[in-house]
């Protein structure tokens, strides 16, 4: 039998190092133009609105809403097979409704999802809950679930 392919990891020191380094400290950061407040995501180094270059990675609330999702029952990219089935998701961050973040929804019932529902960052290992990769990642979960658990 063929050897299992390694889980696809980001280069934590690469072009998105601030995202991954923040995640390792339990923070969700994205780059934002300081003068005009427009998010530079994905980063180009030049603000899409004012064309300035004064961009900083700022800490966010980690709250957002669900933009779209897909329930991946069978991973076509074989290295992802160990986490299938999983819920791939795009969320809109509360700080800017035009900025989307690609992530995975965890600990949510796929049948309960709808566009616009509140979600919240959930820091866990990138391979949560199936695989231990050693890389902390900003996954997301349904905000209602967390609130229910807290009460």
């Amino acid at each position: 039998m063929a050897e299992a392919k390694p889980f696809p990891l980001p280069d934590v020191d690469g072009p998105l190092a601030p995202l991954w380094q923040a995640a390792s400290q339990g923070e969700f950061r994205l780059p934002r133009c300081q003068p005009c407040g427009t998010f530079d995501w994905y980063p180009t180094g030049e603000c899409r609105a004012c064309h300035g270059s004064d961009i900083e990675w700022v800490a966010l609330s980690g709250r957002g809403t669900l933009f779209s999702w897909a329930v991946v029952k069978r991973a076509l990219h074989k290295p992802l097979a160990p986490i299938a089935p999983y819920v791939s998701a795009i969320v809109v961050i509360d700080e800017d409704r035009k900025t989307r973040f690609v992530t995975r929804l965890v600990d949510c019932d796929p049948e309960s999802l709808h566009a616009g529902m509140p979600v919240e960052v959930f820091f866990a290992d990138l391979g949560y809950p199936a695989v231990e990769t050693g890389v902390a990642a900003p996954l997301f979960t349904c905000r209602a679930t967390i609130e229910r658990d807290e009460t």
Binding site: P10, L16, V72, H77
Partner: protein, 413 residues
């Protein structure tokens, strides 16, 4: 030297966001020959053999000898496509060629006539072959390549998408479908109507990979989604094969044996965020919405004039969005529009139909990246279609690559 030349052409055709301003070429270019290799699932066939089989067939169709070709268009962005050196070596030629890496399939199968006209008008070429082949089925089977290869290597995807599981294309377009469902109330059986109509056309087309496999709506709905909301039938084939077509000046078309097809309009537009589909501002939409108006304006025609439509259909949802973004129904209403027999070749425009992907498209004919769609439309306009649309006068190809769209409006000559 040939490599350097096509490298420059390729760089000149990077998709800029928004609609391109194109010179009006209405009535200038004719397509006078079309050809195909055999198309199949993973076959182990050599890409070059398939490409030259398609060119041979197109030249026979056009009544041409290889030495009469003086222009070549192909994809400078896809591995293993045509070069002048290989064309010369294959046919034992040594004359000068004009070449462009801004041809091939995808959106470029729509825009190639525009670039061809620039070469014809300036006297650089008179008979131009546009060709595209793929052996992605064999590559995919051998785990050596395929459609996701370029995406896996892209820096943002590698660092912000792939690690979360947002790969490959069926995952992207499952999100697009879900968003379309949420925004417009589109339903799975409406995607199914596209899959079923395409398969019905493939069942009537001797060259279709899925010619012998039927698909009913009951079959479609009985299948469990594998990347929910997409079922396997919502995804195109992956194939081995090649197609080619031959272009020349429209005023020379009468010298060729087959009825000519005249290019009436061309449009082109780039997506706003390029290959980063998740970031695209109009997420449940395609760049067809920006590409089509220019093509119809050039042709002095509207969607209501179109007798047969072929759109680049990597997924049913992309075809559904293309139908609305090209202007065949209001945005968001394509789900209801495509229900029942609306897309069947034999309903026809006169009966409120929109004959669509009459060869089966990439969903059921072959994954030849849309150049097979242009070949099919040429045959329809000649009256040679396997699923012939009655009195087809005007045809439109909606080409797409994810990062851009190209629109080609053609008329029977």
């Amino acid at each position: 030297m040939d490599q350097n030349r096509c490298g420059r052409v390729q760089l000149a055709f990077v998709a800029q966001p928004g609609p391109a301003r194109l010179e009006n070429i209405k009535g200038k270019v004719a397509i006078v020959g079309v050809g195909e290799s055999e198309h199949s699932a993973a076959s182990g066939r050599d890409l070059d053999d398939m490409i030259f089989a398609a060119i041979d067939a197109a030249l026979v169709d056009a009544g041409l000898k290889p030495e009469q070709v003086d222009g070549l268009m192909f994809s400078g962005q896809s591995a293993g496509q045509m070069t002048v050196a290989r064309f010369r070596a294959h046919y034992g030629l040594n004359h000068d060629f004009w070449e462009s890496g801004a041809g091939g399939a995808f959106s470029f199968a729509a825009t190639a006539p525009h670039d061809a006209w620039a070469a014809i008008e300036s006297g650089k070429a008179s008979v131009i072959v546009n060709v595209h082949g793929t052996n992605w089925a064999s590559q995919n089977k051998a785990d050596e390549g395929g459609p996701a290869t370029a995406h896996l290597a892209e820096a943002m995807k590698a660092n912000a998408e792939v690690p979360f599981g947002f790969i490959p294309q069926p995952v992207y377009f499952a999100h697009v479908a879900r968003r379309h469902f949420e925004l417009y109330g589109t339903r799975p059986e409406q995607l199914g109507a596209i899959a079923v109509s395409s398969r019905r056309h493939a069942n009537g087309h001797p060259g279709a990979v899925m010619r012998d496999k039927t698909l009913t709506m009951e079959d479609y709905l009985a299948r469990e989604p594998f990347i929910d909301p997409l079922r396997i039938e919502d995804c195109c084939l992956i194939s081995d094969g090649a197609c080619a077509y031959v272009m020349t000046a429209a005023d020379r078309a009468k010298d060729f044996p087959r009825p000519p097809v005249i290019v009436e309009g061309v449009g082109y537009a780039g997506a706003i965020e390029g290959i980063h589909f998740a970031m695209e501002p109009e997420f449940a939409s395609t760049p067809h919405r920006m590409s089509a108006p220019g093509a119809f304006a050039m042709a002095d025609l509207s969607p209501g004039d179109v007798d047969v439509l072929a759109v680049y259909d990597p997924f049913t949802i992309v075809a559904l969005m293309a139908i609305e973004d090209l202007g065949f129904c209001p945005k968001g209403e394509a789900g209801r529009f495509v229900e029942g027999d609306r897309l069947w070749f034999d309903r026809g425009r006169a009966n409120g139909g929109l004959p669509f992907n009459t060869h089966g498209g990439m969903l059921s004919h072959a994954y030849l990246l849309g150049i097979n769609h242009v070949v099919e439309l040429v045959r329809q306009l000649r009256g040679e279609g396997a699923n012939q649309v009655a009195d087809a006068q005007v045809a439109v190809y909606g080409g797409f690559s994810g990062v851009d769209a190209g629109t080609l409006v053609m008329r029977r000559g």
